[in-house]
C-alpha cells in the first residue's frame, strides 16, 4: 500500500455543491491527516452528508476537487472505494434477507473482495459489532440499533485504510455507543483513519484527535481538538460575597470583570487573556477578599460549536 503524499487521508480544495440555486456545500477545504480520528461537526442541514457523499463519489461536485487516499474522486472511485468502509446516513439493507446474507451481497458487489474468505470475514465483522448470534435472522426483525450495528459491520468487512461513519451512534443504546467508541479506538490502533460525522459533541470530544465544524455549507473551523479548544479564550470565575473588591483587584491585574449577583454572593468572571491564573488568588487574599470558589475554564467544544454555528434552533437552509 502506498502512502499518500503529505499524509492526508482526505483532502479537498474549494469543494462546492449546488442543488439548483441552493449552495449545499460552499468551497470547503478539508484536510484529514492519515491515522487521525476526525470529527466532522455541524448542525442538521449544514452540508455534512453532502460533503461525505462527494467524498464517496455518490454526488458529483459542482466545482473544486476532492482527494481520498491520494486519488482524485470520483474519477478513481473503483480504485479507492475498496479501501474505504462507509456508513452513510443510516443503514440500508434488504429486509427480506438475513444480516449475514446482506453482508455477503454487499461484499460480492466489490470485485476486489476475495470470495474465498467472504464467510469468515462476514462472521468476524458480525462478531465485532456484537451481532454474532443474530446474523442469520432476517433484517426486518432487527431493531434500529441492530441495523445500525449491521451497517458498521458492513464498513468493517475488509481491511480498510479509511472508515467514514455518518452519525454512527444514531439509534444505539448506551452500551452500543460505548462499543462504537472502543471500536473506533481499536481501528485507529490498526492505523485506519476514521472520519466521523456527528452532532453529538461529547462523542467527538471523547474519541477524536481532529475536528472540523460546518455551518450553512461553510467550513468554519478545522484543526486538532486542542487547537479548536484554544480558539476560545479561557475565563476565570470567582464566587465571592465581596464583588466590588474582587472587581478592583481584577482591574489592577488587568482583567475586565463582569459581576453577576446571586442570593448571598456574587460571581465575578473575566477573560483570562495573558494573565497568569496562579497570581489571581494570592492577590485576592492579599486584598482580604473572601473566596468561596475559584475556577479557570477552557471553553468546551460545545461552546465553540454554538459560538460558530449560532444559538438558533431553526434550520438555516
Amino acid at each position: 500500500m502506498t502512502r499518500d503524499a503529505g499524509g492526508m487521508a482526505i483532502e479537498t480544495a474549494g469543494l462546492t455543491k449546488r442543488f439548483g440555486s441552493q449552495v449545499a456545500v460552499n468551497s470547503v477545504d478539508l484536510s484529514v491527516p492519515s491515522g487521525s480520528v476526525f470529527g466532522f461537526l455541524g448542525p442538521n442541514g449544514s452540508g455534512k452528508t453532502t460533503t461525505i457523499r462527494m467524498l464517496l463519489g455518490l454526488v458529483t461536485a459542482t466545482s473544486g476537487r476532492a482527494t481520498v487516499l491520494g486519488h482524485d474522486m470520483p474519477g478513481n472511485a473503483l480504485a479507492v472505494l475498496p479501501e474505504v468502509g462507509a456508513l452513510v446516513e443510516g443503514p440500508g439493507f434488504y429486509p427480506f434477507l438475513s444480516g449475514a446474507a446482506n453482508l455477503h451481497r454487499l461484499d460480492g458487489a466489490d470485485r476486489l473482495a476475495p470470495s474465498a474468505t467472504r464467510s469468515a470475514r462476514v462472521e468476524t465483522a458480525l462478531e465485532r459489532v456484537g451481532l454474532g448470534g443474530v446474523g442469520n435472522k432476517k433484517v426486518k426483525a432487527y431493531s434500529l440499533g441492530m441495523k445500525q450495528r449491521l451497517g458498521l459491520a458492513n464498513a468493517l468487512l475488509s481491511p480498510r485504510r479509511l472508515i467514514v461513519l455518518d452519525e454512527p451512534t444514531n439509534g444505539l443504546d448506551p452500551q452500543g455507543t460505548r462499543e462504537v467508541r472502543s471500536l473506533v479506538r481499536s481501528l485507529t490502533e490498526e492505523g485506519t483513519t476514521v472520519f466521523v460525522s456527528s452532532h453529538l459533541l461529547a462523542e467527538i470530544e471523547q474519541i477524536c484527535t481532529h475536528a472540523a465544524i460546518m455551518s450553512v455549507g461553510n467550513l468554519v473551523a478545522q484543526g486538532t481538538i486542542e487547537d479548536l479548544r484554544s480558539v476560545g479564550a479561557p475565563t476565570v470565575t470567582v464566587s465571592t460575597p465581596d464583588a466590588a473588591e474582587t472587581a478592583s483587584v481584577f482591574a489592577t491585574l488587568g482583567l475586565a470583570a463582569e459581576i453577576t449577583h446571586t442570593d448571598d454572593a456574587a460571581v465575578v468572571t473575566a477573560q483570562l487573556g495573558t494573565v497568569d491564573p496562579d497570581a489571581i488568588v494570592p492577590a485576592l487574599i492579599a486584598a482580604n477578599v473572601r473566596i468561596r470558589g475559584f475556577s479557570v475554564l477552557r471553553p468546551s467544544l460545545e461552546d465553540l460549536f454554538v459560538q460558530l454555528t449560532g444559538e438558533g434552533f431553526d434550520i438555516v437552509q
Binding site: 457523499r53 473503483l78 472505494l81 474505504v84 440500508g92
Partner: protein, 258 residues
C-alpha cells in the same frame, strides 16, 4: 431476486394462467363441445395447445405487468430501500450495476416465459388427450416437435420482453420511488399496444416494441416463418440499445441522494 417472495409469487401468478384456462375449458367442454373461439377450442382436442393459448392470454398484460415490476424495481428499488448507496460505495461500479440489474431482469423474462410454457404443457397433459399437434397451417407435427416449438415460443416471448425490460431499467434510474417506475413501465407496455391498434398510426406500428408480441404464432406454421422472429429481435435490440444508452447516460452521472 429469486430469494424474494414477490418474485416467486409473480411466477406463481403467471403459472396460474394456463392452469385456469385449462380448467375452465375442461369444465365447459364437458358440457358443450365445439363452442368458444376456435383457437381456445383446440385445447380440448390436444392438451399440448394449452401453453400456446395461455401465452396469447398472458402476453398483452400479465407478462408485461410482472416484467414491469421487476425491471421498474431494478435501480429505484435499491434507491428506495437505501441500499443503492452501499452498493455503489462497495464499490459495485455504476455501469456494472446497470448490466447486472439488466441481466437479472432478462433472467426473469426467461423464467416467466418458461413458466407459462412448462405449466401450460403440464396441465394440458394432465387434463386433456395428447398426440400429434395440428399447426395453424394445417400440418401435423409430432409431440416431440411440438415441445420443441413450445421452447421456441418461450424464446420468442423472452426476446419480446427484453425491450420493455430496458425501458423499465431506464425509467428506474429516473426516480427513487420504485412503485412509480414499475407503474410507468407497465403504462408504457399498455400505451404501446393501444397505439398499435390505431389504424391512423400505421406508419408507427413497426417501431412499437409490442408490435410483434403476438406474432409468435408464426412459429406454429409449417414451415416455420422466421420473418417475425428476426424483425422482433432487431426491434427489441434497437430498444435495448437506445434505452440502454439513456439509462447509462442518466445513471453514470446521477447524484445519489437516496
Amino acid at each position: 431476486m429469486f430469494r424474494r417472495r414477490r418474485t416467486l409469487a409473480m411466477l406463481g401468478a403467471v403459472a396460474l394462467i394456463p392452469i385456469l384456462i385449462a380448467i375452465a375449458v375442461r369444465v365447459s367442454s364437458s358440457r358443450a363441445t365445439g363452442r368458444g373461439p376456435a383457437f381456445l377450442d383446440q385445447i380440448s382436442q390436444n392438451g399440448l395447445f394449452v401453453s400456446f393459448v395461455a401465452m396469447v392470454v398472458a402476453i398483452p398484460l400479465f407478462l408485461p405487468l410482472t416484467v414491469g415490476v421487476v425491471a421498474g424495481d431494478t435501480i429505484a428499488g435499491e434507491a428506495g430501500g437505501g441500499t443503492l448507496r452501499y452498493l455503489l460505495v462497495a464499490p459495485a461500479g455504476r455501469v456494472r450495476l446497470l448490466v447486472v440489474k439488466y441481466l437479472g431482469s432478462a433472467v426473469f423474462c426467461v423464467a416467466a416465459s418458461l413458466t407459462v410454457i412448462v405449466f401450460g404443457t403440464l396441465i394440458g397433459v394432465i387434463l386433456f388427450p395428447t398426440g400429434p399437434v395440428t399447426l395453424l397451417s394445417g400440418d401435423t407435427v409430432s409431440v416431440g416437435e411440438s415441445l420443441l416449438r413450445s421452447l421456441l415460443v418461450a424464446s420468442y416471448v423472452t426476446i419480446s420482453l427484453l425491450g420493455l425490460s430496458m425501458i423499465g431499467l431506464f425509467i428506474s434510474t429516473l426516480t427513487d420511488v420504485p412503485v412509480g417506475s414499475m407503474a410507468a413501465t407497465v403504462v408504457m407496455a399498455v400505451a404501446s399496444q393501444v397505439l398499435d391498434q390505431l389504424p391512423q398510426l400505421d406508419w408507427l406500428h413497426p417501431f412499437l416494441f409490442s408490435h410483434y408480441w403476438l406474432s409468435f404464432a408464426d412459429l406454429l406454421r409449417q414451415p416455420i416463418s422466421w420473418d417475425s422472429y428476426g424483425s422482433n429481435a432487431i426491434l427489441q435490440g434497437a430498444y435495448m440499445v437506445i434505452f440502454g444508452a439513456l439509462a447509462y447516460g442518466r445513471f453514470s452521472a446521477k447524484d445519489i441522494l437516496s
